[in-house]
């Protein structure tokens, strides 16, 4: 890890509209609540129009850059398999990749101009053995709505991070719409159970 050995670098990748930025926000707030210095960076712009979205999140005792350097990420949290395969080489050797198994076609595939890679899960496992696929969207539906997929994904990485459960619950409760708190808490728990 960089500088003084206490920085955690997380890269979150996905598709515009999947809630990548909200997930990153929750992680940042949780890290701040635990007393860490936090830096975060993302490129929005046309992200809502279904393009790839990446958010960088770093926390630790002292850090300078808001962006993660390729090859130094401690975790890659991908909301879509193709976006996992696109970014796995941002991880440092041995680091953990968690991804949502539900495929979302890029526009190039929808228009019949490109094909979605065959056997994507095998390719991910081969490219990055320390990876876990999670049916996050299914779990979110089980919790009540597919919209909670990003919260399931947060749950799936929760055990790896030094934040107590109350912190997660507190921050998630604050950022999701009031009516959906229970659903999102359930989604978080399902993600946590699946993240083992």
């Amino acid at each position: 890890m960089t500088e003084n050995g206490t920085t955690t670098n997380i890269l979150i990748s996905g598709v515009g509209g999947q809630g990548v930025l909200l997930a990153s926000y929750v992680l940042g707030q949780a890290a701040m609540k635990e007393g860490y210095e936090v830096k975060q960076s993302e490129v929005h712009g046309m992200s809502q129009r279904g393009g790839s979205v990446v958010s960088h999140l770093r926390f630790g005792e002292r850090l300078a850059s808001p962006i993660v350097t390729q090859g130094t990420a401690d975790f890659l949290l991908s909301f879509e398999p193709l976006e996992a395969l696109r970014f796995f080489n941002w991880l440092r050797p041995g680091a953990l990749l968690i991804y949502n198994t539900l495929r979302v076609n890029p526009s190039t595939v929808a228009a019949g101009l490109a094909t979605y890679p065959d056997g994507i899960h095998e390719r991910i496992a081969q490219a990055w053995p320390n990876s876990r696929g999670i049916d996050a969207t299914l779990l979110a539906e089980e919790a009540g709505t597919a919209k909670a997929t990003n919260i399931v994904m947060l749950g799936s990485i929760a055990r790896e991070l030094p934040f107590p459960l109350e912190t997660w619950r507190h921050i998630i409760g604050r950022v999701v719409p009031p009516k959906t708190v229970d659903t999102n808490m359930k989604a978080f728990e399902l993600g946590r159970a699946a993240g083992r």
Binding site: E3, P66, P106, A110
Partner: protein, 598 residues
């Protein structure tokens, strides 16, 4: 109190704490959220303007009236606003006046990569560049102080990685302001007739010399000594990258990057063995430093002049140039990625009102002179139906120019059509249309009136009847405006009806005089319009893929029952029920939703 704020949120907060009374902007990534956040502070009167030139002028007016005021834009917006900026440099200010330029190295969402630090030197105004959100907030206050002390506009530059990165900020408060009571008139100061302007120019030159003196003692410029073997000059987010890459090195950290503190630069040079200038885009600092006669051991000889830097790049390139002390963790070249993956570019939303127009344009043999907005995606496959796009508002003038020279020979008559969005038409399309009419052009202009500035997240326009703060306002009536410009042919089309859209465009292209076609249909994303999904009857679909030409992500090819059999499927979650794909199907295989019985 501390919070994690983006650079843009911090600037909004800084404006409030600094006692800004007035702020104006035209949206543009990565600057847009500055005004969207300022809107939340009731003590600041804030507004969208039709374009950046007007935003700058209204903010300058507010400054002359005594208010601290802010004009905000993306980098290319300064091109539009350059005219008032350059002469505001002569008039100076009354209340502090700051122009924010949000640059976009790597062009995450821009049409060029210009380095707006050059504007500071060109307009002879000071330039401040924060390196994180805390500095963005604090330095904005300094910008207003310098503006008032030196009687000058101040240019304040962020980049995408400052505007859209979040770092921790200690929040402050706003001091109470006295109401403004007098509007002073000062003809020689604010009226730039040649005689008065001539008197001003030497003062502008002296001001820059005085500011260079002040730069020596500003605490945003500082020497941070570490290992004297390597000295790095940097500013903005690049300073953070270099700090990460060379934690032990010595730094000359510049918050004010124009004019430069020569004494401080010389002093730093004398303390370090090697001096490197690390900056994105142009060699702006490097050239100034070399002009001082100061030896630079590496700048653009080491770093690329295009694109963004990052900590790994700084570590690797400076190490290759012979600088010791890089963080070893950043030095390893990243491993190879997966090859041959399909790209995931942004795309028109399912249900977007622009889809039908480009589906039709892609099959007409016309030259589409395009403009900037969501509809620029019409240039992408499968449409390929936009053949030029240069800057906001350019579509209409360029179409006129094209048709002027092609019509002259009488061979390729009326083969050009301009396509422009409503916000872009208000921004700078009106004058292009005026030119076409005045100069007896015959080209056709399609105005895609989706009732919002969709590309930047759905801001109000002069045509939506609402201001930034949501107050009701007069609506520009596009047909009547166009008519007043002298357009005789005004046609309307429903962009969701492909037959009608094609008929209208063909008819207006044939017309021997200029015409305007208005396609009025609201942006489905901004107005949260949701229609029930259509479905594909797998019996009727024969896999011809004709519907895929509408470029909608809700459509996909799946395996059918038989060998080699492919079918189209509609994802019911993504489909927004616009029915455009169904009009492409020759077999009636795409069916509307069945209405649920009440």
């Amino acid at each position: 109190m501390k919070d994690i704020l983006s650079g843009n949120e911090a600037i909004a907060r800084g404006a409030w704490e600094a006692g800004v009374r007035f702020a104006a902007a035209y949206p543009g990534t990565p600057s847009t959220e500055i005004l969207e956040n300022i809107r939340g502070y009731e003590d600041i009167e804030s507004q969208w303007s039709p374009n950046e030139k007007v935003a700058t002028e209204v903010a300058l007016g507010a400054s002359i009236a005594g208010a601290r005021s802010l004009a905000v834009m993306k980098h290319v917006g300064v091109n539009v606003a350059a005219d008032p900026l350059f002469t505001a440099s002569y008039t100076g200010v009354n209340g502090g006046f700051v122009m924010i330029t949000a640059d976009d190295p790597a062009m995450h969402s821009s049409q060029n990569e210009q380095d707006n630090r050059n504007y500071a030197r060109f307009a002879k105004v000071p330039l401040l560049e924060p390196s994180d959100s805390q500095e963005a907030k604090d330095m904005l206050k300094l910008a207003f102080e310098l503006s008032e002390e030196f009687d000058t506009p101040v240019l304040f530059r962020t980049t995408t990685r400052i505007s859209h990165s979040k770092t921790m900020v200690e929040l402050g408060e706003r001091a109470a302001l006295e109401p403004l009571t007098v509007l002073e008139k000062d003809v020689p100061k604010y009226t730039m007739l040649p005689g008065f302007a001539r008197a001003k120019h030497p003062k502008v030159e002296q001001r820059i010399l005085d500011l260079a003196q002040r730069a020596e003692t500003l605490d945003v410029n500082r020497i941070e000594m570490g290992d004297p073997a390597v000295g790095i000059v940097a500013s903005g987010v690049v300073y953070q990258y270099a700090r990460e890459a060379f934690p032990g090195a010595s730094f000359l950290k510049l918050g004010m990057t124009y004019p430069l503190p020569q004494g401080m630069v010389e002093k730093f040079r004398s303390k370090v063995d090697r001096l490197y200038v690390v900056e994105e885009l142009d060699p702006f600092l490097e050239e100034r430093i070399r002009l001082m006669g100061v030896k630079v051991d590496g700048g653009k000889s080491v770093f690329p002049i295009t694109g963004e830097l990052d900590p790994g790049l700084v570590a690797r390139l400076l190490t290759a140039a012979g600088a010791p002390g890089a963080d070893g963790d950043l030095l390893t070249e990243p491993g190879p990625g997966a090859e041959g993956l399909p790209m995931r570019p942004p795309t028109l939303c399912p249900g977007c009102s622009h889809r039908g127009v480009f589906t039709v344009l892609s099959r007409l043999k016309v030259f589409v002179s395009g403009d900037i907005g969501c509809y620029t995606l019409g240039a992408m496959p499968p449409f390929g139906a936009m053949h030029s796009c240069v800057c906001m508002g350019a579509s209409i003038g360029m179409a006129h120019g094209i048709s002027k020279v092609t019509d002259a020979q009488g061979q390729i008559k009326n083969q050009t059509v301009a396509v422009i969005g409503d916000s872009t038409f208000f921004h700078s399309g009106i004058t292009g249309l005026m030119d076409t009419i005045w100069n007896r052009g015959a080209s056709t202009t399609i105005i895609l009136d989706n009732r919002t500035t969709a590309m930047t997240g759905g801001q109000e326009t002069p045509g939506t009847g609402k201001t930034l703060s949501g107050e009701p306002a007069a609506e520009v009536d596009i047909p009547r405006l166009v008519e007043a410009l002298g357009v005789k042919r005004i046609a309307y089309m429903d962009p969701y009806d492909l037959t009608e859209t094609e008929e209208v465009i063909r008819r207006e292209l044939e017309a021997p005089e200029p015409s305007v076609i208005i396609a009025r249909a609201p942006c489905v994303l901004q107005f949260k319009i949701m229609n029930d999904p259509w479905t594909v009857d797998s019996e009727l679909c024969n896999g011809c893929k004709r519907c895929l030409r509408v470029g909608c992500v809700a459509l996909s090819l799946i395996e059918g029952e038989g060998e080699e059999d492919t079918l189209v499927e509609i994802d019911p979650v993504q489909c927004n029920g616009c029915g455009v794909c169904a009009q492409m199907c020759r077999f009636g295989a795409i069916l509307p939703p069945v209405p649920v019985e009440a």
